[in-house]
Amino acid sequence: MKAVCWHGVEDMRVDRVPDPELINPRDAIVRITSTAICGSDLHLYGGKVPTMEKGDILGHEFMGVVEETGRGVSNLRKGDRVVVPFTIACGNCYYCQSDLWSACDNSNPNAAMLEELNGFSTSGIFGYSHMYGGYAGGQAEYVRVPFADVGPLKIESGIEDEKVLFLTDIFPTGYQAAEQCGIRPGDTVAIWGAGPVGLFAAMSARLLGAERVIVIDRFPERLAKARELADADTIDYETDTDDPVEMLKQMTGGRGPDHVIDAVGMEAHGTDLYSGIDRAKQFAKLQLDRATALRQCIQACAKGGTVSIPGVYAGFIDKFPMGQAFAKGLTFKMGQTHMHKYLRPLLERIERGEIDPSRIITHRVRIDDAPRMYELFQQKKDDCVKVVLKP
């Protein structure tokens, strides 16, 4: 089959690889009908995530049709149309049973690697380095789905792929980010990053009743999407201001946004001094993360507010304004999305027409064009926000 394989920093290739096979009783093989490039794939593309190997198949946002099931999978059969959550969860451990699916104890065969880094291991992830399990991803024609009896969600209606594809990651991820803010009537939510997750967080904040949504970015086309999809106010931190924190304060009657969402993560850009220091440290491998967005989030957030972090971080951060966080009594919520918990409720929202996830798509290409799309997406050329690949 054809698959999008990682060959090194900024070196993606479409290779011919053997088809996946059933290995475990709870496996299924899914023929991919639609897949996407995620912003977090760019961390792999840019070589920011360790334990990648040449030939690794990327892709954790995919859906398709069940081809084959193991003897432990009784809820799916050949021909079922499914979306597959990007985290892999056993469904049986304490964390799965507590709805903390991304903290699954038993789905990462390389748990020791992640334990080395983080002290604890969390769930395996499709196509996301060997420390996250070394599972082959779904930017391919076929994929093997472990624990298929608990992960995949059947799509029974004839709704098109593009509307449900983002249930695999970015919609639930943006939704969880907004949900864990605990939005109350009248609340203002500020979101750093108008990429796909930021846009879904903005739309979700609206769904959850936020009075006002403010989105911060530096790409006019992305900010335009935020205005269009979530009726957001926007701040372009390169042209509108050199101090987004102060601007947010002034936009909110001096109170600051009630909740802030960092949908940027470890590769933040910025114009201040600290972002320059971060960049130098990251270049010198002294620090994995550039934390500009997170620092601004903490500085901007209103007293008693929530800092919600769907953006990915991987290491230690210097110059963390802990004093401000403490002074204001902020609540921090973060982590990989507990995908399995959100699939069905969010599918229902889509089917009811409350949200149309396909509106964020800017590029639709054949899988053979994936390497070019990685470059385009990374450099945000051609107004690229979201790329969908068709095998």
């Binding site: 290995i23 709870r26 056993c90 304490y94 065969p109 334990e115």
Partner: protein, 357 residues
Amino acid sequence: MGRQADEVSEAMGSGTRGRRARPHGVDPQKEHGRHGATAHAEPGGDGSNVNGVERLLSIAAGGALAAYALRRKDLSGLALGVAGGMLVERGVSGHCMVYDAMGLTSAADDRGARPTRLRGGAATVDAKKAQKIERTVTIFGHEPSEVYAYWRRLENLPRIFRHLERVTETDARHSRWEAKAPAGRTVSWEAEIINEVPGEILAWKSLPGSTIPNAGAVNFRAAPGGRGTEVKVSLEYEPPAGKLGVFVARMLGEEPSIQVREDLRRYKALVEAGELPVSANPGQGGDARETFDARVNRGETAAQVKRWQAHAPRAAHEPEHRPAPGDQGRVDQVENRTASDPMTSTESTSTPTKVHA
């Protein structure tokens, strides 16, 4: 030797009196830290792991190296200078980072014979030479009595610890153990159960004359709030070739503490999820289904795995698989092992347990 020896001896030597001698569910981080301290830093008592004579030599050699380095004004001079400085530092502080990394120490020699032995009837293992392993895991969804019952049937232990080939119970208290040793050797010994409290403690020690004197204890305890059963394994053994033997084993990737950690992780996955996670990448492994873990999941019997092992050309099955820390899906680790349901059976071709529907 600190609390670790105490724990094992409590569990092993003192019958019911010693139960709950210390809190069982200690923070694993702290636990780990203490283990490290025992293994590396403690011998000198002050964090040192280099003995007196060696420290003096270190200072002298380091000083000479640094002096020589100062006269060379190039890059290798710099490197030599750094090395010299490290030697001096090692001599002054008595702490060697290289020894630390290797898990070695020469500091204990300083205090001459200070044999810290296990107390009571459990003085099987010379604590001065002993390697200690301690690891705790929580098994969700099962009561201590269930988990205990599985472990008490000693024949099951090789299905948890992959380096055990076979355990045969000869009577209610005695058993014969066979284990794989580094470099393809096999060792065996006789062991005796010295403490058992159903659902709580199981402890054993090897009988005199064993190649590898060893002792072990397993504590079982209900985790709070219905979080399952905490299983704590404490093992002590005298490595056959002393500290050098441990170092060589580690270099060969057979570090016992890592093996125990990974074995317990696998045990947990089998009990909780009903199968071991396998992530063979179709781009890399020709025959992903033939990995050890995949065969365990299929519930193959010992005889089947053994037959396959005898005929399988290794290279054909795992062409490019890179051994990762904790990666157990390797063909060369296939052992004489029955598979499947880790909670109930000893011999089986049955389907793995599955809690979740």
